[in-house]
């Protein structure tokens, strides 16, 4: 299978670009190639073009890092303060964790890599949640949406169940990740419920929710608003209905479906 020689060369170039330490190729290009099963002719080419093969490291690594650095800028600030951002990125790139042909999925790949490897978790137990929150804004802004169900009406009644806009997310964190900034990137501990949604201009927004409101928003998608409120022990139903109307006006709730058959 001569095509195997093509694959071996491709693997070698990607290794050269993504391995955390370029030293092996810099010091011994023939050995680098030989170690990857390449024959003497290819080894000679690696010797001849060593410096130019190394040129690929910059664009490959910059392309893969750019969306992560742009989207996860608070997490980046956190790790830069500790002098570990480059190390974190290098470990991510070396993992070959980017599987999607869609460039926009890169930051999600980074999140997946953090979740899988637990990188930095011991020192920063909130890191995964911080990256998740930073990514959440992008996911909400760019969510492709879907076909809205028919027959919704704009004002809630107690017998209705609510239908969220497709991009809307109700999320819970164990840290106040939404308050972290580049200047103060360490979030305080504390259970935090957020409603992330896309406003009328297409921008991602979030609202901090009480635990009861978060539960209502989740439960009232499955059962009637009145029943959900009762289940949660909410006595002031008019307040709940008013809150839902406000969420609908902001663009977080698509509408309200008629009475659920019992």
């Amino acid at each position: 299978m001569l095509e195997a020689s093509v694959l071996a060369l491709q693997r070698s170039l990607v290794d050269a670009a993504l391995m955390a330490d370029a030293g092996p190729l810099e010091r011994d290009p023939a050995g680098f190639a030989a170690g990857r099963g390449l024959p003497p002719g290819d080894q000679a080419a690696f010797v001849r073009f060593k410096d130019r093969l190394l040129v690929y490291r910059d664009p490959v690594r910059a392309d893969l890092a750019e969306p992560v650095e742009t989207i996860c800028f608070v997490s980046r600030a956190l790790l830069e303060q500790a002098g570990l951002w480059d190390e974190c990125l290098a470990a991510f790139l070396a993992s070959r964790g980017v599987r999607s042909a869609f460039y926009r999925d890169l930051a999600a790949s980074f999140l997946g890599w953090l979740a899988t490897t637990g990188w930095g978790r011991e020192r920063w137990p909130f890191l995964l949640q911080l990256v998740h929150f930073e990514l959440l804004n992008v996911l909400v802004a760019h969510h492709p949406g879907g076909d809205p169900p028919a027959g919704l009406h704009p004002r809630p009644a107690l017998g209705d169940r609510l239908v969220l806009e497709v991009p809307t997310q109700v999320v819970t964190y164990q840290y106040q990740v939404h308050l972290a900034t580049v200047q103060a990137p360490v979030p305080a501990p504390g259970t935090t419920h957020l409603l992330a949604y896309r406003d009328g201009t297409g921008l991602p927004q979030w609202l901090e929710l009480t635990p009861a409101t978060a539960s209502l928003l989740l439960r009232a998608q499955q059962t009637s608003i009145g029943q959900a409120a009762l289940d949660l022990g909410l006595t002031d139903l008019s307040e709940a209905v008013e809150l839902l109307a406000q969420c609908q006006a902001k663009g977080a709730i698509l509408g309200f479906a008629g009475t659920i058959p019992r």
Binding site: L2, V6, L9, R11, H143, G202
Partner: protein, 288 residues
Amino acid sequence: MGSSGHSGPFTGVGLGLRHPHFAAVARGNPGVPFWEIAPENVLGDGGHEHDTVCRILERDPVLTHGLGLSVGGFDPFDPEYLEQLAGFLAFTGSPWHSEHLCFSSVDGSTTHELLPMPMTRAAVRHTIRRARELQDRLPVPFLLENITYYAELGEKELAEPEFLAEILDGADVGWLLDINNIYVNAINFGFDPKDWLLRVPLDRVVQMHIAGHDRVGELVIDTHGAPVIDPVIELMRWVLPRIGRPVPVLLERDNDIPDLEELLAERAAIQEAYDDVMAVPAAQASHA
């Protein structure tokens, strides 16, 4: 997505449609005969900007140019993505779809970079099979684009013109001739770009790309981050009559993207050069 059904005109000098210009272009076409868009930047996306770009794609003539199929790679093509791509091609009405003669993924992991193929007979056979497969699975003619490369990957068995010609002929696909890539490679490898162009099947050219580049140390890098320089425009002027047809030329700009007005002025200058050379009878011009 519905279907825009635009059939052209696909001649003259078009412009790559880029994110910073979406809003301005959506307000009205500023005299650009056609746009080019990467499906990967639209498919599966949503939200305000997505809606904006879709309005442009519905309204104006568009060519599609892919970034992520890794034509020379070994990972199987994703059937779900190809289905989405086919729908996108129908939506835009693009008369063909182009990709790069390169690989970008290995063992399921993607680099999002256009990496050079080994110039070997095995790579030719492999790429022909892959390009034919794509041609069979796409609803429009498929084109391959010659890329910039900075190093030869492994021991070379074929010169680049022969490598390219064998793949284009073997796969029976069209050629997206990137004139800047040829110029950049000529500088970096020390060959004459006109000699190079005389050794390739110009009858397979369906579209051209033109772009700017930057010098980084001893190398010229295909950054798409600077205006097109005069020698590259001259090379375009030299090759167009030899192609003998008014193939569309697309101005690419992907980095340090200037204001739309500045880019439109650059496009207009290249269009002027294009019109100038097209006004001369082909036989006369190709002897210039």
